[in-house]
């Protein structure tokens, strides 16, 4: 029998209505409409972010939050204050031998270590955030010029800061200025020599874009002087002594904003007038991660202590030793922990923020830059400002070499546990091998650079070769 006739016949009689009904069910809505979803209520399209000052601002501050919480600038044990402090001669490590910092402390890093790639990845993630802001405001049509300038200045500043640390830690590293993964995944290395001019240009631009006045209370957003202070450091690292001194002066001369320390105990308080730029904690009342990481109340030490060689570098009567370090004694053993930040956890109202750039460094930059240019009197003046604040007499150094060495010594006891200064200073002075090979049994000449992460070399051959010694 013919099946189609059968169906047709049936339709006419009993089923036509129900069949039409059924078919209409299938066509209840057109396909495209049904599978189109609205934007999730918790997300914002990228283009909309930079059409509004508030959301553009939120994208920028997220970069600072990431810097405070993860990677190089973190105050936890994964940041350079601890890791590079232990890698150089600032800290002795007391924790578990299987943990990441133990390998920094032993100068036994390998390209395959997670800590090596985490520092790297977090840094480039922060750079991506800054680049996303730069590209976002470029495409924006609604943002006011003043807001554009502010955000562009900040993003250039943040991007430069991270790049500067990367090149110090890993040597030649990619300079990333775009968010395009197709370009960035093939990025080639750039040596410090080539990178510094780029950073200088970025920071020059930032310092023209950023206003002199802070747009925030408590100096948690960078202003023009933050850019210039960082610029002073880049010039110094690059051997541009005159420019370094000039930029430092530009900051130091602004005595309405920045006043020299009188009380060391107030240096790291959130309202300190020696602070140029600092990270704000995430929640009201919270204090710094640094305090949590460094302070301990009973021996044996749970994590790190200030190394005996650092403790012996303090001259007798140095107020910094009594104010910024603290002894913990158990039986015959005494250990010291960094006590720059004194308040742990939440104190209702925050007392301390994490200071990234502060005035003392600018004095020391200018002292060194002046000495290297032959301005020995000016150099000694700057050095003595720092020594006086520490309750010490004027420096006894006379020759330029002696003054330059005195600056290095002063930097060590002034800037300890602040973002790895000591290690970078030793490298800059060319004494890193001489100094560290004495106190660090595992030190090798090639340890002045960290290994490039193995995971990175495996996916981007443009980063080859690996740093020597790894």
């Amino acid at each position: 029998m013919n099946i189609w006739n059968y169906i047709g016949g049936s339709f006419k009689k009993t089923v036509s209505k129900s069949f039409v009904c059924a078919l209409s069910f299938f066509a209840v809505s057109s396909c495209d409409d049904y599978v189109t979803v609205d934007l999730p209520p918790t997300q914002l399209t990228a283009s909309a972010v930079f059409e509004d000052k508030m959301s553009a601002n939120a994208a920028m501050v997220e970069v600072y939050v990431k810097m405070r919480k993860t990677g190089i600038f973190s105050g936890t044990s994964s940041g350079v204050s601890v890791a590079i402090g232990a890698y150089a001669d600032e800290l002795d490590y007391f924790g578990d031998d299987t943990k990441g910092i133990s390998f920094f402390y032993a100068n036994a890093l390998l390209p395959s270590f997670g800590d090596v790639s985490t520092l790297w990845n977090n840094s480039y993630s922060q750079i991506y955030g800054a680049n996303a802001v730069l590209e976002g405001i470029q495409k924006s049509t609604a943002l006011l010029q003043t807001d554009r300038d502010q955000l562009r200045g900040e993003a250039l500043f943040a991007r430069s800061l991270v790049h500067l640390y990367l090149v110090q830690l890993y040597g030649a590293t990619p300079y990333i200025t775009s968010t395009d993964y197709r370009i960035n995944s093939k990025a080639a290395k750039m040596s410090a020599m080539d990178l510094y001019p780029k950073l200088i240009a970025d920071l020059e631009e930032a310092s023209t874009l950023l206003p002199e006045a802070y747009i925030s209370t408590d100096r948690v957003r960078p202003n023009r002087f933050a850019a210039r202070a960082l610029l002073a450091r880049v010039y110094l690292y690059n051997g541009n002594w005159a420019e370094a001194a000039n930029e430092a002066s530009a900051v130091l001369n602004h005595t309405d904003l920045y006043r020299s320390v009188v009380n060391l105990a107030a240096t790291f308080k959130k309202q300190s007038t020696t602070t140029i730029w600092q990270f704000m904690p995430g929640v009201a009342g919270q204090n710094t991660d640094e305090a949590t990481t460094f302070i301990f109340t009973a021996g044996p030490p749970p994590l790190v202590v200030l190394s005996p060689s650092l403790m012996s570098a303090f001259e007798a009567g140095d107020l910094r030793k009594s104010t910024w370090t603290k002894a913990v004694t158990k039986a015959s053993s005494t250990w010291y922990h960094a006590d720059k930040y004194k308040t742990k956890g939440n104190s209702g109202t925050s007392v301390e923020y994490s200071v990234v750039l502060r005035l003392s460094e600018q004095y020391l930059i200018r002292a060194e830059a002046r000495a290297r240019q032959g301005d020995l009197i000016g150099a000694k003046e700057d050095l003595n400002v720092i020594r006086t604040a520490a309750g010490l007499g004027n420096t006894t150094a006379v020759t330029d070499i002696a003054i330059i060495d005195a600056v290095l010594r002063e930097r060590r006891v002034e800037l300890f546990t602040e973002y790895g200064h000591r290690f970078f200073d030793l490298k800059r002075y060319g004494t890193v091998n001489a100094v560290l090979s004495v106190v660090k049994p595992g030190w090798e000449a090639t340890d002045s650079l960290l290994p490039l992460p193995e995971t990175e070399l495996l996916v981007n051959p443009n980063l080859l070769p690996q740093n020597p010694g790894y």
Binding site: L39, T42, A58, G95, T179, Q286
Partner: protein
């Protein structure tokens, strides 16, 4: 272990049931003695001559070689009258005295008995292995007779699931289904399982999950937990643990294109069809089942004792030239006693997990209305010290109805489950292996946690941090069908799911070394709330028609599915007190880690056309057009389809009634499927908020690296299979060969960190082949009245291969993939032994440049895919005693102990085997010299050793996976009551060359699967 410890706690539950059972039995025995007849065997009844044209009521009992048979269909030949035997095998039917009664039951030879005027007709049915071919197999949208299916479908039923003391339905499948590889990820209750159906198709994490369908309703299997909260489990909590295995009637796994193409975009990784228990026609039947059991670690590792350990430490320092032990070397510098010894494995994971299972159900109904009501309770404690447990309570109901003319049918099922998991926030297994054997006592003299002056992290501190999860799940579905005309049905399936999951993890400040001086302001809490609701509507038209030698069935239908999900993750810290950790109100700061809402919409049209000619040539066409909101505009739709064919050559004239070959079928299929398991909104370029505040502003960041251009991945599947039955199907062999190819795979393409991300979602221009052979053999070895023995064997061989990858050398996969090799290989250094002079590990320097570098020297390919796996199951019955046991076997490689443990010499315990170390020049040993220094040659070599093939070992195993022994008390004792006593065991014996804790287990640092033993009683009346 002592079996009597099973009833340590609440021992009275099974005891009471046992007593009840006994009382009932004696009562029945008494009745029997009093002369009440027993009607088990074919009994000749008195012959009453009655009027031939008069309707009479015929009663009787249907039995088989083992006893009465409930559920047998008794019908009158040529008439529509039919009934079903009740639980006692009894029936009652009205017929003419001259009629013929037809007794039919799946798995038995149908019997036609002329009434011949009798009023009592009792029969005994013969089991018929060939009848298994008549079983209807659920293929999702349709069902098909086993003999006529064109696709590859594996099935396990309640009878198999119920024999296993497991808490997860995936566990019940282990070793029982060809082509289905299930591995347990943790021995902690409530933890997950990994499942792969015919190998790894996708490189994407979570991209290999099959589609789960519960009673026709898609059940989203994406994780509901969060890594911040679910730290104790190696994978974030999975919703699959919510489905109680005891509620399941059958699980069917669809494997090939013919079976899965009707699921289109979601069928690439196979489909798991879960059918829950349904109402059965007949007298109301009550079932109660109670069991209790215990679980223990299958074996501990052989670790160093204090003497061996301290010898290692001292030798390591000596090797490094260190004569004064450092302050932090508490184990050797005199801080800890050199004579103390604690077996930390026994101390921390040596407890006994207690299991309790209670199930009750009622089922029954008339021919047109049936119901099922069931309730289940499962509780399981942990092997860790402390009071922790996993529990699940569920209720389920099923109702079905047919109108008087049987044109309208309705079926409604609803299941509600509550699940709780109260565990320590951290698995203690890792600590139990690495703690020094002379580490201090857990408690001090005052009974407080001993920190030994801050010189160690007491492992019991971890118990202060708790993981608490509560989930509720509701799954409801209804099916309404209407027969428009004979052969044409309109059917609509509605499904609804509602899943609510709450979990929290506390981190009290007491977790930290007291020398850090942390107070409750350092205590923190993570909370994760995840809700997921979905509905689906599937209208379908089903047409069936048979004429002459042809049989046609056509199905067309559509799917409209929508799922809404939202997740809120909070982090709080700065608590007023550690006793107030569970209330956010006591926190000084609350951070919103994530507050996400998502919507998933899915629409499809599907069709199936099946044509059968002369009952032996079958053609099956399936297709589906899919649209998914997970893809960007213009890429939402894709079409999938398959063709399947089967030839039942045993029905050809030349083979008909062949005395040896009883069944023969050749089938083949080819088709395409896809996968949209990529998460929602991946194509959008958006910013989302973070938990971070700065200046009172909440930060926002790009949600992902933006790539709008990704589209569907496709998976083509080919299969050829031969099914043959011999000697009335007493030997039944299925052989299947498949070759699946996935291309255009959607993966997270790895990126260098310089991009700010580590991967981007994109289509991969590569083709991956999964091919393999599956063999299943079922033999009925013996079938006698008192004794029967059946064996099931399955084995799957598989091979995963990267077939092509254009421009591999220039891609970021350059150092990850090798063409012709599996996609999940590891490229490692090649270990070349210990230099007998220096005592340090050596490796092959492939490019001979004098240094070992990952990109140049990691060239040794190691494949962790199993090369074959399977199971051997035996079912033996002697009268009322049944014994089932399953051996599971896997041939594979895995990382050895040396991959898991830290460098020998450090403050961390080691396996005893590590004592075979190099000490002086000329030593030939298994391990290099001990060292404490990460910078010594040996220290550096150790890191390369862990990245070499030296730490890869054979992890093949044969495991006595399951044993179940049960005894049915004779019905002539118990009368109305059926009482079954049983003992079950899981993971009882393992034969393996692997020296780690468990060869099955792939996740390090977590508790391996436990050995379970349980005993119980099942009552039915």
């Amino acid at each position: 272990m002592n079996i009597f410890s099973l009833f340590k706690c609440k021992w009275w539950i099974p005891l009471l049931l046992g007593i009840y059972c006994f009382l009932y039995t004696t009562k029945s025995l008494a009745r029997e003695k009093s002369g009440i007849p027993d009607s088990h065997w074919l009994s000749s009844s008195p012959y009453h001559m009655l009027g031939m044209t008069q309707s009479i009521v015929i009663t009787g009992t249907v039995s088989d070689s083992q006893g009465v048979l409930p559920g047998v269909t008794v019908s009158v030949q040529g008439k529509s009258t039919a009934t079903i035997t009740d639980y006692q095998g009894k029936y009652s039917i009205t017929a003419m005295a001259t009629d013929v009664l037809v007794f039919s039951f799946v798995g038995y030879t149908t019997l036609n008995i002329p009434i011949g005027g009798r009023t009592v007709v009792s029969v005994s049915l013969q089991e018929d292995a060939t009848q298994l071919q008549e079983v209807k197999i659920n293929a999702g949208y349709y069902s098909v007779k086993e003999s006529e299916r064109t696709g590859s479908i594996a099935k396990i039923s309640a009878a198999t699931i119920e024999k296993q003391p497991v808490n997860n339905m995936l566990a019940a499948m282990q070793g029982r289904m060809a082509g289905v590889n299930v591995t347990q990820t943790t021995g902690v209750a409530g933890g997950g399982f990994d499942i792969q159906i015919r190998g790894q198709n996708s490189l994407r994490a979570g991209g290999n999950e099959p589609l789960y369908i519960v009673d026709g309703v898609p059940f989203a299997s994406e994780v509901i937990g969060n890594s911040n909260t679910t730290g104790v489990l190696p994978r974030s909590a999975s919703p699959l643990s919510i489905i109680s295995p005891t509620e399941i009637e059958s699980i069917e796994i669809l494997k090939d294109a013919d079976a899965t193409a009707i699921y289109g975009s979601r069928g690439a990784n196979g489909v798991v069809l879960i059918t829950t228990k349904k109402g059965k026609q007949g007298k109301t039947q009550y079932t109660a089942n109670v069991s209790r059991g215990t679980g223990t670690v299958t074996r501990f590792m052989d670790l160093m004792n204090t003497q061996q350990y301290l010898e290692m430490r001292k030798e390591a320092f000596a090797n490094d030239g260190i004569t004064t032990f450092p302050t932090s070397a508490y184990d050797v510098n005199g801080t800890w006693s050199p004579t103390r010894y604690t077996d930390w494995q026994r101390e921390l994971t040596g407890g006994t997990s207690e299991l309790t299972d209670v199930q009750t159900s009622v089922t029954g109904g008339s021919q047109r209305n049936q119901f099922y009501l069931g309730a289940n309770y499962h509780k399981e404690t942990t092997v860790f010290p402390g009071d922790f447990n996993f529990n699940r309570t569920s209720v389920r109901g099923n109702f079905s109805h047919a109108s008087e003319d049987e044109r309208f049918r309705a079926n409604f099922s609803v299941g509600y489950t509550m699940q709780g998991n109260d565990l320590p926030a951290t698995d203690l297994t890792r600590d139990s292996r690495i703690l020094a054997p002379n580490a201090p006592a857990l408690y001090d003299a005052e009974g407080k946690l001993n920190w030994e002056n801050g010189s160690w992290n007491n492992p019991l501190r971890l118990l202060y941090a708790s993981y608490l999860a509560k989930s509720q799940s509701l799954i409801a579905n209804s099916q309404l069908s209407y027969r428009i005309v004979e052969g044409l049905d309109f059917r609509t399936a509605f499904g609804f799911t509602d899943l609510r999951h709450n979990e929290r993890r506390t981190n009290p400040s007491t977790l930290y070394n007291p020398s850090l001086g942390f107070g409750s302001s350092y205590s923190s809490l993570y909370r994760n709330t995840n809700n997921r609701q979905s509905y689906s509507v599937e209208p379908q038209l089903d047409f069936n028609r048979q004429w002459n030698d042809s049989k046609v069935s056509v199905l067309v239908g559509g799917t409209f599915q929508q799922q809404e999900g939202n997740q809120l993750i909070l982090f709080a810290d700065g608590f007023t007190s550690n006793s107030l950790l569970n209330t956010l109100a006591a926190a000084s700061a609350i951070y919103v880690v994530a507050d996400d809402a998502s919507q998933y919409k899915y629409q499809a049209f599907f069709a199936r056309a099946n044509y059968t000619y002369k009952d032996r040539y079958i053609l099956n066409l399936t297709g589906r057009r899919d649209g998914s909101s997970r893809f960007g505009p213009g890429k939402q739709f894709a079409t999938f389809g398959a063709i399947g064919a089967a030839w039942l050559f045993s029905r050809e004239a030349f083979l008909a009634n062949n005395s040896i070959l009883s069944f023969g079928k050749l089938r083949a299929s080819y088709g395409t499927t896809g996968s949209d398991q990529i998460g929602d909104y991946q194509f959008l370029d958006t910013y989302s908020t973070t938990s971070n505040g700065y200046q009172g502003i909440t930060g926002i960041q790009p949600t992902r690296l933006f790539n709008p251009d990704f589209g569907w991945e496709t998976n083509s599947k080919m299969e050829i299979a031969l099914e043959t039955g011999f000697l009335k199907d007493r030997i039944f062999l299925t052989w299947a060969w498949y070759d699946n190819r996935s291309s255009n795979q959607l993966v997270g393409v790895p990126l260098p960190g310089t991009t700010g991300f580590t991967s981007i979602q994109a289509n991969l221009d590569a083709t991956v082949a999964n091919s393999g052979t599956e063999l299943s053999l079922r033999t009925v070895n013996l079938q006698k009245k008192d004794f029967s023995w059946t064996t099931d064997f399955n084995i799957s061989f598989m091979k995963n291969k990267l077939v092509s990858f254009p421009n591999l050398a220039a891609s970021t996969y350059k150092n990850q993939f090798v063409i012709g090799e599996p996609i999940n290989i590891k490229l490692l250094y090649h270990y070349t032994g210990i230099n007998p002079e220096t005592g340090v590990y050596t490796f092959e320097d492939v490019n001979g440049d004098g240094v070992l570098t990952a990109e140049k020297d990691k060239k040794t390919i190691v494949d962790f895919n199993p090369s074959f796996y399977g199971g051997l199951q035996n079912q033996l019955r002697y009268q009322r005693l049944r014994l089932d046991f399953l051996f599971q076997f896997v041939k594979q490689q895995n990382y050895s102990n040396d991959y898991i443990f830290a460098r020998p010499g450090l403050l961390s315990n080691q396996p005893v085997s590590v004592t075979d170390r190099w000490q002086q020049a000329g030593d030939v040993t298994a391990y290099q010299m001990y060292t404490t220094s990460s910078n010594s040659d040996a220290g550096k070599a150790f890191n390369n050793f862990q990245a070499s093939d030296g730490v890869v070992t054979d992890a093949s195993y044969i495991r006595l996976k399951n044993v179940s022994l049960s005894y049915d008390l004779p019905q002539n004792w118990t009368g109305q009551l059926q009482c079954r006593l049983y003992v079950e065991g899981q993971n009882l014996l393992t034969f393996t060359p692997y020296t780690g804790t468990d060869p099955e287990f792939k996740t390090t640092g977590f508790l391996p699967p436990l050995r379970m033993l349980s005993a119980g009683v099942q009552l039915t009346f």
